[in-house]
Amino acid sequence: MSAAATTSHTGLPRTTATAGSAGRVILKRAAGSVFVLWAAVTLTFFVLRLTPGDPITAILGGAGSSPSPETVAAVKAQYGLDQPVFVQYLDYLAGLATGNFGTSYIFKVPVLDILGPQILPTFQLAGLAMVFSWAIALAFTLLTVGRGRVLDGIGRGTEVLFAALPPFWVGIMLAVVFAVILGWFPVAGDDGFKSLVLPALALAIPLAGFIAQVTRSSFEEALAQPFVLSARARGLSELAVRLGHALRHAILPGLTLSAWAVGSLVSSAVVAEIIFARPGLGRSLVDAIINRDLPITLAVVVIIAAVYIIVTLLVDVLYRVIDPRISEKGATA
């Protein structure tokens, strides 16, 4: 349990690559993706729909509202809530198949109208957070691994510290120091790259801690491999050995971690979105769940699941680029 153990507490999936002809692989993948989407939606639908709590409360729950029984009946009919749950479920699936995510209980507008504008900011945030995480993690790895006890210790310690930091705490501190006190970055908002930096860092720093930890241990492992010695014996410089050989092996576990992290960034972005007053799916999700806005919750689940699936696929492709053995042998490193 070497690789698994080092990343264990985060509970990482391992990317699984399947062997076989490209066509069959793609077909299998597509079927698997549809299944995951369907199951995710179904699970969420029934879990949330069958828990106590009337969606009517959510729909008519604005402060000071005082709807009459006629109103309630009208709403029930409008949202199809007068039907048996299973019929509602089938209706929802049918709608989903045609790209109709339903109408928000809270906002009373089509879900896509609400979530549409939130998607891009979230992806930008998650994407930049990912880039930052890798930049930090790689800097740590290349600069501190095997560079003497002191540097190694500093790198190791910082990584563990980073991984232990709660993102919201990092966000608040960054906001106070760099936006309010120093004024280097905007306090909040969604207004160009500069406004993305702090929220992305808030998410990236803890994540970088995790990526750096797994990358460090696999980098150490790689540096200890005979082929690295072999390369040195050929007369290669330290830098060439690190960049040309060790790094390539070392980033694979971190990559697996990233596949999982992107999906979770979409939801955990909520803290950065709250602190930096950014629009985004994370906030929509948390609000939707708090307000029992089932259609929005379901739609966010679909989006997150789709992101997870797509990113997993991308990582798989990247994996194959970095480690071509997979496509040939159908086994992960």
Binding site: I56, F107, K108, P117, D287, R292
Partner: protein, 513 residues
Amino acid sequence: QPADDTFVFATGKDISCLDPHVDGDMPQASIAANYLDSLVSQDKDGRIHPWLAESWKVSEDGLTYTFKVRDDVTFTDGTRFTAEAVKANLDHMVDPDTQSGTAGGYLKPYESTEVVDDATAVVTLNRPYAAFLEVLAQPFLGMESPTALKRPQAENCNSPVGTGPYKIVDYVPQSKVSLVRNEDYNSAPPFAQHQGPAYIKNLEWQIVPEDSTRYGLLRAGQVDALDLMPSVHFAEAEADKNVALVLQDRPGNPTNLMLNTTRAPFNDLRVRQAFLRSAYVEAGINSVYFGTVTQAGGPLASTTKFYSPDFEDAYRPDPAEAARLLDEAGWTGRDKEGYRTKDGKRLIVHFPYTPAVWPTAHQALVTQLQASAKQAGIDVRIETGDFASVSEQGNNFDYDLRADYWNTNTADVLRIVFSSEYTESAGFVPNGSGFRNKEFDKIVNDALATDDPAVREKLYYQAQRIVSDNALQLPLYNQASQLAVRTDRFADLTLEPSLSLPYIYDVSAVKQS
């Protein structure tokens, strides 16, 4: 730096559907005041003036209102404003399909509207309703384009259309609403300081729920004004010469904790009184709100017409009296933790609460009240929950305490918050105390049947006394508009008078030297 022709306003509470007819939450009214005009307007003293209605006549029996409306006003979608629009709007508000909370709730006596001609609309009520004109002055009941109202609700929620000084051009939920000046605006209300189009071309309404972020944006100059000014930053803002505070208490039922009288322990008047006596509200307000809010002293906010200060001191904190009342009520035992017991059962008060919908200071305040109740031997359990389940409990009288307030520009709020009519409702139940009292119901209904101010004042005084005597709620502090604005860039941010909401129409850019 935003351009001079854009005013950026940061609001602290999320907006759901923009159309204020639907639901009825303050943030909707807040922005509606800037793109909707109302039929009538109200001044600071509560008097009613013409707006889109040039004049009106009320029948003897108080059941028929004949409005003469302006004929020179056009909605921003090009639809002409006529009596037909009045009918369309009132019908829309009471239509169950609209799922209106506030506007529909205010129009319970509404029967129908008859359009006599383009300029004349006759509204029929099914009972006298003296507060009718007052509620009509609220942005919740603003006039929307009948053409726009015909669209599906989803569409109208995204882009309601009014005759106001601004019109909505874009809405990104949970993020911002963009508005642009209505260049043809010619229907400014009497409380406005000028006529014609607004001074500022663009209005951006940003949604920033996080307190410190919203304030940070203002300090950094990223926004020009904000609401729900965090009390912790008042002193700092006051010291900042570039920032001014715009403060105004709102009329209505102040922020309070409702005591559920329908079940134990608060079905016992003595226990209710004891709880009120145990609460050190003033100390709490001064510490967590830094004195930025006005303590409320009775069922009405002090800014409400017909408010009487006589009940302010009805329940001064008095531990000895609280103890006496509890002893009298039979809660004589004490358990290990010092809580009072009766028949071996602890005096527990369940308080479902959604922190997310309240200001931070409110959360601190209720924690302090919890602690002071503990001194009296009352175990207040703040049970945090999501909004949906807490409001569900709220609607089923499944609580002992409920955090509430009701902003409205009329003392009729007493009827909404305390009469038996409002203890039953399929959705939200405004009467959180579950108080049912025939005498009280008669008084507040009688007050609607007359427009003689003296009579009304007398009736509302009696109503306030009944509420106070029955210890139905623990008043905390007046709801207030607390705005902060960058005075280095803009001047004349005012409040519209009905609900004291931010009014951007008169705002003008400060000439930079």
